[in-house]
Every structure is written in C-alpha cells, then in structure tokens.
Amino acid sequence: MMWRRLFLSWLVLVAGPVLAHKASDSYLVLEAKGTQVSGQWDIALRDVDFAIGLDADGNGEINWGELRARHAEVSAWALSALTLERGGVCPLQVTSHQVDEHTDGTYAVLNLTGTCPSGEAELGVNYRLLFDQDALHRGLLRVDVDGVTHSAILAPEAAQQRFSAEKPSLLTQFGHFFVQGVWHIWIGFDHILFLLSLLLPVVLVRELGRWRGVGRFGEALREVLWVVTSFTLAHSITLSLAALGLISLPSRLVESAIALSVVLAALNNLKPVVNQRRWLIAFVFGLIHGFGFASVLAELGLPADSLVLSLVGFNIGVEAGQLAIVAVFLPVAFWLRNTGFYRRGVFVGGSLLTLLIALVWLSERAFDLKLMGA
C-alpha cells in the first residue's frame, strides 16, 4: 500500500512539483499616511472557501450571491488575521468588497481603512492569514509608509515585520553612487584602456617624426589634466542626458563605438595623426563613453527623489576612479619615459596589445560574435 503511493510520489519528485495551480498567496497593498491607513487585500476565493466555506448550494461553484451573503464573515475572518500597529494597534475595518482576477483564479477584494494612535512611528504588520491551515500560504505585501515604499513576503517564519518611513539619508545615497562610480570605472576595462591609450604618450613629445621624453613633470601633468578633464566633461554631458532620459542610443551601437574609440586611440599612438590636441579625441569619444556609463547607471536604478544628487555622486565617483588610475600611472611613466622598456615595451607594445584587444571587442560587438570567453 505504502509503495504504491511511493511510486506516485517518486514520479513527482523526479518531475518536480507540477503546478497546475499555484500555491496560495494573498496580495496586500497598504498605505500609511500619518495616522491614517488604507489598503486593498486580495484573497483567493478558494482560500476563503477552504477557511470558512462559501459554496452554500454545494454545486462546486462560487457565485457573487454566495460571496455577498458571507461578506460580514469574510471581513471578520480576514481582519482577525491581520494586525497593523503604529504607536499601538490600528483598528481596521473593511469599507467595501469587490472581486478581481489573478493568474490562478478569482480573488475577493477587501478595501481596508483604519486609524493609528501615532502618525510617526514605524508601521508594524502582523499577518496570520491561513498559516494554521496552509503552511505554504504567503502574504505578498507592498506597503507605502509616508511615501517610502517597501515590499515583503509574509510567511509563517516572517509573519511579523516592521516598516519605517525613513528614507536613506542624502549623504548615504550620494556615497552609494560615488562608490558605484569609482567601481565602474575600475571594472570598465574598455574605459580604462581608452584612457591609458591617451595617457601613454603624455610623457613623450613627438619631434621630427621621433619621440623623446618630456623635460619636466609639469609638462606631462598639464597634458594629463587636459585629457582627463575633457574626457570627464564629455562623458558627464552624455551620461546626464541619457540618465535623465533625454537621449537614448541602442546599446550595441554605443558598445561598438566605445570599442572603436579604443582602436583609434591605440592606432594614434602607433601612427600619430592627432598629436597636439589629444584632448579633442578625449572629448569626442568621451561623449560616447558617457552613454556606456549611463547603461550601468540605468541598471543601478536612480532614485526619483534624489536624481541629480545621485547622478553627481556617480559622476564624481567616475572622476575619482580615473584620478586614482592617473595618480599611479603618471609618476611611473614619467620616471621610465626615457627607457627602452617604456618606449618599446610599454608604449609600442602596450598600444599594440590594446589595439588587438579593442579590435576583437569591436568585431564582437559590431557583429554580435563572441570571440573571447566570458
């Protein structure tokens, strides 16, 4: 007898749970504004029926009449399983009953309202609906406390949760985006290679078709400042425009153009075309790189209420990340500028290698190939 069941069960184990229907969820949306709370609670009719019985005529169907007749009991049953607290218990009542469809059937909709003792404290939610009858039941909660939105899954082991109205401080948000900015220039290999390609020649001067080392550190530093500043200025412009949704370019185009910019910057080292106004290259291509940063920022998600602050934080982070790279690179390059190692190995060899990598990127991105393993 037991092993017959086992066979059946084995089947399911091996197949994984077959969800012809889904497990039971209720959808609870709450809004607390000062002492006032309101909300909408969708509970599956099947669950209501299982808990208190709705099918009065026993025909296996629930119609609106059967549900309407039991509205008082449905309210009492549901409200007995939900406690809201803000400086004490907020007594709740159901103002109206409706119905709604979800993916797995029709739900009773209870519109709620209540008044709390305090309009300042955290909002506590204690949810007990159906847990003693269906251990897999979950309450999917979205709660807005004085404009700050939270979402949570209410489960038997997480039935009681608290939600605060406190937003993360502006400084915290700024810091978060600053760190992200630093981080993304460091892991953005293509941005670094572009920048380095432009920086490799700053410790050298081209005269009569030959390279020689610059005389003073200040000369190199001035060149670096021009390049880095124009790169930053340019990518800040496009990053802001894209992040604010004013311009949007297809990402394949942007990524390909970024790869192309690295190709050209490396080529320019090997066969100099632009020599004097390297900052111009930095500016023009910086515009493209800005779109690249914008896609990163889009993934992070900008908070609507502190958009500009976050954007500035990210930009300054990118800038700081670049300066850190420059601070390491420049003294070493200046020190080695007259050695064969720098001239041939780092400058020529490095540019060649960069060119090669960038060409692979370009073909991958432009033709949607994958030449290098991830």
């Binding site: 037991m2 092993w3 017959r4 069941r5 086992l6 066979f7 059946l8 069960s9 084995w10 089947l11 399911v12 184990l13 197949a15 994984g16 749970p17 077959v18 969800l19 012809a20 889904k22 497990a23 039971s24 969820d25 959808y27 949306v29 969708d42 009719l45 099947r46 029926d49 299982f50 099918d55 026993g58 296996g60 169907e61 629930i62 119609n63 609106w64 409706q98 119905v99 709604d100 979800h102 059937g105 029709t106 847990f131 003693d132 009858q133 269906d134 251990a135 897999l136 979950r138 999917l140 909660l141 979205r142 979402s151 899954i153 489960a155 994958k370 030449l371 290098m372 393993g373 991830a374």
Partner: protein, 385 residues
C-alpha cells in the same frame, strides 16, 4: 520588482459583479463528492482528536495524494499545516511525511535529515529508504543512492528496489543494464500506477539509447493505460519535440494549459509551428513564473530556463536559471538545459559541471554527449574579458 508588479496587478482592476448569479470560481471538489466527504470526515476526526498522530498522518497523506493527483500545491500546504502542529519528536510516519513535503519544496537537506531521523527510529522503514534514494539520484550522488537501493532489496521490496536500481544504472553509464532492470521490474507488477511509471522511465531510457521506435512503443503503452499523468505527457511530448512532431504535441496538450510544465511544451510546439496561440501561452507562462518568483518559489527554475532559452531566446537569463537549478537538481534533463543554455550564451565554462558529471557518471545518451562537446567549443576559452 516582479513582486511589486504582481501586487499592483496592473492589468486588472477590482470590480463589483453585476448580478448575484455571476459565477466567480469553480472549486476543485463539490461538497457531495466522495473525496470532499472523506476529507471533511477526516478533518472533523482530527479536530476532535488533535493529538492523534496516526489520524493526522492519514489526513496529511490524503492531502498529499490529492496534490499529486491534481497537481495542486495548495494541498501540500494543507498537509504541512497538519504535520507541523505536532511537536518534536515526531513519530516515524509523520517524520517521513514531513521529509516528503520538504523535498517537494526542494529542501533536500531538510528532507534527508527527516528520513535519517526516521531510519534511526525504524531502520526497516522502506519509505524513508526509497525517498532518500530518490533524492540522491536527483543530486547525482550515485554511491549514496546505491546504498538505498540495496537496503530496499534487503527489505524484500523488489519493485521499489528495481525502480531504484534501474534508474541508478541508467544515470550512471549503464543504459542497457538499467533498461533490463526496469523491464524485469515491470514484469513483477500488475499495478497500473507502477506500470505507468516504469513504462515512462523505460521510454526515456530507450530514447537515450537511440532506440526511437522502442521508446515510442513504450510511451504509447503507458498512454494506453488511460490515466492522466503529467510526467508521462511531459516525457512523451519532449520525445515528440525532439523528433520534430510538434503538431502531435499541440494535439495532445491542448487541454493541459493548467499544468505549467505541459503548457511550456505546448507553447514550444506552437512556436515552432508559428500558431497564433503561441503568444497567449507564452504570456501565461511569463505570468506564472512571475507569480512563483513573487512568493520566493525557486522550484521552477529548470522549466523557466528552458522557457527563456527556447521561447524568449534570452540566453544569459536562461543560463543563470539553468545554473541555479543545476546547483540543486542534477538529472539528465537538468544537465541538458544547462548545456543548451551554455551553448546559446557562448559560455563554455559554465557547463563545465555538466561535462564533469558526464565524465564521472559515464551517462551514455548520445544527444547529451554531443551537446557537451558542442558546449566545450562554443567559445574560445582563451582570455577573459
């Protein structure tokens, strides 16, 4: 994000029905049905004697059987609610049942602990051995599975032992031997449920051996038993999809929209045939996966991976899901979806776990083997970007 979208339920708005007669919901049972009456009687009995473990086990088992028969996870939740009302230490049947309910949620570690505890109390409890064996097979721990098969053999549970050993052999590089074992086990039993299970698994093994005609015959024999069975239909329609017989899949699964795994196969077939229904079924799948995610349910990842891969052509997402699934479940079908996703995403390294499993287990299916080979050369493993 998905949770938010679901909670807001943007594509519908609450409404007030116009008439009392409007039917809002069809229940799975009617009060007068024998199942409903039986359940009501059991519930009443449990309510009257809340400390009676045997009665509780009976009710919980009844719920669990219903969950399997109807594919409805609500009954699993009901069963678990009955079981967890009892304080530790649970008696052996309830302990085993709790393990079964835990494995259903893919909490394999928790389930194994329960079976272990049950076997300490009752070393000869065949059910606990069988379940342990099943979990070890899913986890590709064939040495541990072997021990459970042997234990079942020693307990004289020939059919269970044969099923256990047959699968074990098939998964671990002995398709021919596995086939023979399952076939011999089939001769031992006249029970229709058991035969259906064994015929289905034999069909799969035959297909892995490349014996398509034999596989077809086995699947058809299983179907001829005339029982609705989601796993059988899934295996059979997978076979048909591989054989390019999508029209047949559409015909078979037209009334199976309610089962996620079959809806997936239906949508795949419809997409291949460019049928207008495909878009609606894809949308239904999106909604169902989102609903599962919203409640923190991760038991659907293998199917979701296949959905992303074959229907939405989103290789990176498919790969992420297939990898997450493979960390939990490592059966041939889990291996296959990971290999296919890795190839589509041109990410050979991510399929290394499957190639390692193939090397270790010696699993012989030619399709899996050629996919593994293709996955290795799907990208240049050279420098990292």
């Amino acid at each position: 994000m998905a949770a938010l979208a679901l909670v807001t339920n943007s594509d519908a708005a609450p409404r007030t029905p116009a008439t009392d007669a409007e039917v809002l919901e069809k229940l799975p049972t009617r009060a007068a049905d024998s199942t409903a009456r039986e359940l009501a009687a059991l519930r009443a009995a449990v309510a009257k004697a809340p400390t009676d473990a045997a009665l509780a086990a009976e009710l919980a088992q009844r719920y669990f059987d219903l969950a399997l028969a109807q594919g409805d996870p609500r009954y699993v939740g009901y069963a678990e609610a009955v079981v967890i009302r009892f304080a530790n230490p649970l008696p052996v049947p309830l302990l085993t049942l709790r393990g079964v309910l835990r494995q259903y949620r893919h909490d394999f570690a928790g389930a194994l602990k329960d079976f272990e505890a049950a076997l300490v109390l009752a070393p000869d409890y065949a059910a606990a051995h069988a379940w342990r064996g099943a979990i070890f097979l899913v986890e590709a721990d064939y040495r541990a599975a072997q021990k459970e098969c042997t234990a079942l053999q020693q307990l004289g549970r020939e059919t269970l032992a044969g099923a256990c050993l047959g699968l074990l052999q098939a998964y671990s590089g002995q398709l021919a031997a596995g086939y023979t074992t399952l076939q011999q086990t089939l001769r031992l039993t006249l029970d229709a449920d058991n035969r259906l299970w064994l015929l289905t698994r034999l069909g799969e093994v035959a297909a892995w051996r490349g014996q398509d005609a034999q596989a077809q015959a086995l699947y058809r024999e299983a179907l001829s038993l005339g029982r609705d069975d989601v796993y059988l239909l899934a295996a059979w329609t997978d076979f048909l999809l591989d054989a390019g017989q999508s029209a047949e899949v559409v015909r078979l699964l037209a009334r199976w929209e309610s089962a996620d795994s079959l809806l997936l196969r239906l949508a795949e077939a419809e997409t291949q045939l460019k049928l207008p229904e495909a878009a609606r079924h894809q949308k239904m799948l999106v909604d169902r996966f989102a609903a599962a995610r919203a409640r923190g349910d991760t038991t659907h990842r293998a199917e979701e991976a296949r959905f992303e891969l074959r229907l939405r052509q989103d290789a990176p997402t498919a790969l992420r899901l297939a990898q997450a699934n493979y960390a939990v479940q490592r059966e041939p079908r889990d291996a296959r979806v990971l290999l296919e996703a890795a190839i589509a995403a041109k990410d050979p390294a991510s399929a290394q776990v499957v190639r390692d499993w193939l090397r270790r287990s010696g699993f012989e299916d030619a399709r899996t083997r050629s996919l593994a080979q293709a996955s290795e050369s799907s990208g240049n493993t050279g420098s990292k970007k």
